[in-house]
């Protein structure tokens, strides 16, 4: 009973608390931290659309986020300078709110996604999140050098005939799908807090990239565990407690 209620959601969130801060560091490196909010809102809209259509919400959320991650390249010229993420954010938010307002079926899930309730996660969610986060972490490690090189020495990157599109597309898909799972698991803002705050602290304080990643993961995990316990103890929604704890941690450390 305890395991069903608390252990499975805890482990599901823990997997995300390990990988979201790393993803946040790479998003910040690429000046794309707004992507976290954009993909989360698109995933929420996709999940609600799937629910209304009689499909699995998690699949709908992941499909919508993956489509957004891969599709934004098609509009890169018109939506330069992060505009793509702002447009995705607005569109995702609008669709999600309209669905929740007009479809009774979507209203409850909509509240859960935007309130950030971790405790609805079960075994099926963990079975999806655990292997995906392990895969995403491994891919980020593989892409790490090219992502850094493309940022610091874009001309060297091109002169070596290193192909940018597989790196960028791979990263976009990893970011979109991880954010989609995070949104399904801990809500829009819970996932965003784990993307934004640990990376912010790491970029302010770390002496190097590797140390920065470690500091971000440590911050994310400590914040997550503390928020889980506190939200349970105070009987509060998880997402806002996590966000407030991480902000407090960030203001002290950064």
């Amino acid at each position: 009973m305890w395991s069903e209620l608390f252990l499975l959601p805890f482990l599901t969130g823990l997997c995300l608390a390990l990988v979201l801060p790393v993803l946040g560091c790479f998003l910040r490196l690429r000046d794309e931290w707004l992507a976290a909010l954009a993909y989360a809102h698109v995933a929420a809209a996709g999940a609600l659309l799937a629910l209304v259509g009689g499909l699995m919400p998690a699949l709908g959320g992941m499909a919508a986020a993956a489509l957004a991650g891969a599709g934004k390249r098609l509009f890169a010229r018109r939506l330069a300078g992060g505009a793509a993420f702002a447009v995705l954010l607005l569109a995702g938010w609008a669709v999600a709110v309209l669905l929740a307002a007009n479809q009774p079926l979507a209203e409850r899930l909509g509240h859960a996604l935007f309130d950030g309730q971790l405790y609805f996660s079960g075994g099926a969610q963990l079975a999806l999140v655990a292997p995906w986060t392990a895969f995403a972490g491994a891919v980020l490690l593989v892409l790490s050098r090219h992502l850094l090189l493309a940022r610091v020495y874009p001309d060297y990157f091109r002169a070596r005939h290193l192909r940018a599109w597989p790196v960028v597309l791979g990263f976009d898909l990893i970011a979109a799908l991880t954010l989609a799972l995070a949104t399904m698991t801990m809500g829009v803002m819970g996932g965003f807090a784990l993307i934004f705050v640990p990376a912010w602290i790491a970029f302010r304080r770390a002496a190097g990239w590797r140390r920065g990643l470690l500091l971000a993961v440590a911050t994310g995990v400590v914040g997550y565990v503390a928020a889980f316990a506190l939200a349970l103890w105070l009987d509060q929604p998880f997402g806002p407690v996590l966000a407030l704890l991480l902000i407090a941690l960030g203001l002290v450390i950064a």
Binding site: Y153, Y156, A202, F203, G208, W209, G212
Partner: protein
């Protein structure tokens, strides 16, 4: 004798329109070619054409197949606010720290955005210069360097060439160009040639 690294005949390079007069030059492995000339004659454009980013409008540009390029541009790598140490920067291009000047060796584990402008410039230059490459392209490498930095760079460039690497460098610093280059080409404005 091996094929030259670069052979250019009547090369006219540019971006939207031609930006250089026709150029003829050749570079063999182990030699340093200096490009000088007034502002706007297309020195950087020639480097960009060699790197494959600028357009070749006419003439022929042959590069030895399989050439590994390393390109340093005048732009400062955007590392402000990024937790990246000097040692990690070198690792990105597999550049060796061996031979770094003493005033940089002790700072390799510092964040790049906490180094002085000159230290950061030399380290970012070193990262390209010492990357495994057959041809190194350098754009105004002496910018932001003090006398000690310029002297050290001259020595390192000669050693790099002696190891078999070809180097093309663009510079306004005529003393530096005369000191390190095996061949020098003074570019002229398009209007002067036409």
């Amino acid at each position: 004798m091996s094929a030259p690294l670069i052979r250019a005949q009547g090369l006219v390079a540019g971006w939207q329109r031609p930006a250089t007069a026709p150029l003829d030059f050749m570079l063999e492995a182990g030699r340093i070619l200096g490009l000088t000339g007034a502002n706007g004659v297309g020195k950087t454009t020639v480097l960009s054409a060699l790197a494959g980013s600028a357009r070749v409008f006419s003439g022929a540009l042959e590069m030895r197949p399989g050439l590994r390029l390393a390109l340093q541009t005048q732009g400062v790598p955007p590392v402000d606010g990024v937790p990246l140490s000097g040692r990690e920067l070198l690792a990105l291009t597999a550049a060796s720290p061996d031979g770094l000047p003493p005033w940089l060796v002790g700072r390799l584990d510092h964040r790049l955005d906490r180094l002085s402008g000159g230290q950061r410039h030399y380290l970012t230059l070193w990262t390209i210069l010492q990357a495994p490459a057959d041809l190194v392209l350098l754009d105004e490498p002496t910018n932001n360097l003090d006398a000690a930095g310029v002297a050290h760079l001259a020595t390192v460039l000669r050693k790099r060439a002696e190891s078999g690497c070809g180097v093309v460098l663009v510079s306004h610093d005529h003393d530096f160009v005369d000191q390190v280059c095996d061949q020098v080409m003074v570019l002229q404005e398009v209007a002067d040639v036409v």
